[in-house]
């Protein structure tokens, strides 16, 4: 009688099981998200108060006779400074929330002590990270919708452009924004406490990408650096789509680099994850915190 020495797993991985694992993570994240009702407050308060700081400063810079506003219009070509600022600050908030939510997804599992046991299941491990993005994209869509609604009602901000083009820009930005989140999540598992890195990345977006001003106003070296950040193209394209009625052809100079950066960051994110996964198994760091 022969005895097989090859260890056999009860798990039978396949495309179907990977999809099932992905959907299970999505469902878990959605359940957690809806269990804490404080997100409703955050959903209505944050879209309003964060841009407000910049909007009120811009209002002060305009002056009582709006003489400053005339200079702003001449510099930026934008007649609606509130809408101009909202687009920039919303993109910043989107990247910021993704860094905290997706970027810390695996770290939170590590802190809860569930990462190791999840890692042992015969599933596609990237689905743990990918599954986080589903509910995150839904909540961000709600966030952006609430932003548009609140500023439309309270400040009379009106979109002059085609909403489909705005949607197209946002869709094109998803790979870049979430790819960066994936790469970040993998690094966080290795370096553990990474708040400072979040501050660094979101700070770069805040300084270089023109969230409240046109990039053309920056010194030349800062403009060169800004070209390497996908959020620069997203903010520029979103403003053009929302307020200048830009079509696909006008948006192409923003769409092409945005999608290229998206492809780059998705690949970097995926391979960083694979590298981290191998490294963590070798060093046994997956369960440490």
């Amino acid at each position: 009688m022969e005895t097989s020495l090859i260890p056999r797993s009860l798990g039978q991985p396949g495309l179907l099981s990977d999809i099932r694992a992905f959907l299970a993570v999505v469902r878990r994240e959605w359940t957690i998200f809806t269990r804490y009702p404080s997100w409703i407050i955050a959903l209505f308060i944050w879209p309003l108060i964060f841009p407000m700081m910049y909007i009120l400063t811009a209002r002060a810079l305009s002056g009582p006779d709006e003489s400053g506003l005339a200079v702003f219009i001449a510099t930026t070509g934008a007649t609606d400074y509130i809408g101009y600022i909202i687009v920039g600050t919303t993109v910043w908030m989107w990247q910021n929330i993704v860094l905290w939510d997706v970027g810390f997804a695996l770290r939170n599992e590590q802190m809860r002590g569930t990462l190791e046991s999840n890692w042992l299941s015969p599933t596609w491990r990237f689905s743990y990270l990918l599954g986080q993005t589903g509910p995150q994209i839904v909540s961000m869509a709600m966030f952006i919708g609430v932003t548009a609604l609140e500023f439309g009602i309270l400040f009379g901000v009106r979109l002059n452009g085609n909403p489909w083009m705005i949607g197209l820009m946002m869709l094109a930005a998803i790979p870049a924004i979430y790819g960066l989140g994936f790469a970040f999540a993998s690094l966080v598992i290795t370096v553990k406490e990474a708040n400072t890195f979040v501050f660094l990345i979101r700070g770069m977006v805040m300084i270089f990408c023109g969230i409240t001003f046109p990039v053309a106003i920056l010194p030349a070296w800062m403009q060169s650096f800004a070209k390497w950040l996908p959020q620069t193209y997203l903010i520029h394209g979103m403003r053009a789509a929302a307020f200048s009625n830009a079509g696909v052809n006008e948006l192409l100079p923003d769409l092409i680099p945005l999608l290229s950066f998206g492809g780059f960051w998705l690949i970097v994110g995926y391979f960083t994850f694979l590298w981290m996964e191998r490294r963590a198994r070798k060093t046994g760091a997956i369960g440490q915190y």
Partner: protein
């Protein structure tokens, strides 16, 4: 039978307790030096978009619209003063509540509470180190931001510091009340985040409150911080003030006494309630 206690509280023991609390916080702070770096650069990062935005509103480097509200086109010095004062306001206003929350999470709050030291003194002690570190990081921040954006105070720094003192002491009252609320609710983050944004917004840390929509101005005028920020800027930058500076100083001094008394009362009432409920050690 008379109850006797082994502790013999005196002014000296109280001061020693303050020193010990401050020394402990000092050690903890410098164990994470990246926090100090972050404290210096975070405010600079937040005001950089304002600097470039201001350029988009300026002609030949002069923000004339801004000058029409404040009497000074130097909007960056205006904002930098607001940023430095905000650092201190945050330290006093929220620092005590945060410190209690940290003690709750680390499980040391109950044992600290058993020490024969006044509870308000424990709260004040938790702000001493943070006041010192805030002073250090704010000076470094001001030097760096001054080099990057320009900082040109034209008035009396000494008078401005003297004016800021009653405002900060009065804020201790707010801090006591907030610490009491943290004891009761055991959650601080949302309150701090939303509260600080609103307080900063309405008191005019980044802009003159005159530029607010008219329906928001009454809220702003009800906050004593508005007068503190206004008076300090008036003294340092010679900007137009809402009221004559001596009147604003009187308001700040009155605010200091009233808030200290109200804040201490609120804290003691809530603290008594929490001890009655037995929830002091929960988090």
């Amino acid at each position: 039978m008379e109850l006797t206690t082994l502790s013999q509280p005196s002014l000296r023991t109280q001061l020693r307790a303050l020193f010990v609390i401050a020394r402990k916080d000092w050690k903890v702070f410098w164990r994470y030096p990246l926090n100090a770096v972050s404290n210096v650069f975070q405010p600079i990062i937040w005001i950089t978009p304002v600097y470039f935005m201001g350029k988009a509103f300026s002609t030949d480097g002069q923000a004339l619209g801004f000058a029409a509200y404040t009497g000074s086109g130097d909007y960056m010095s205006y904002i930098l003063i607001g940023t430095v004062l905000t650092n201190f306001i945050m330290t006093v206003f929220w620092g005590m509540g945060y410190a209690l929350k940290n003690d709750m999470d680390s499980g040391v709050l109950e044992s600290n509470w058993l020490a024969p030291v006044s509870r308000l003194l424990i709260l004040i002690g938790r702000t001493l180190t943070s006041m010192l570190t805030t002073t250090i990081t704010s000076i470094v921040m001001l030097v760096i931001a001054g080099a990057l954006f320009g900082f040109k105070p034209t008035g009396s720094t000494f008078a401005a510091i003297l004016t800021a003192i009653p405002m900060l002491v009065g804020l201790y009252g707010f801090g006591f009340a907030f610490a009491g609320i943290v004891l009761l609710m055991r959650e601080a983050n949302t309150m701090v985040d939303v509260g600080s944004f609103l307080v900063q917004g309405f008191s005019g840390t980044n802009f003159p409150v005159r530029s607010l929509p008219y329906w928001l101005i009454p809220i702003s005028l009800m906050l004593p911080l508005t007068y503190g920020l206004d008076a300090v800027r008036g003294l340092l930058l010679k900007t137009n003030t809402l009221l004559p500076i001596p009147v604003e100083v009187v308001i700040l001094i009155a605010f200091m006494f009233v808030m200290l008394w109200i804040g201490a009362q609120i804290f003691y009432r809530i603290e008594r309630r929490v001890r009655t409920l037995g929830t002091l050690g929960q988090h």
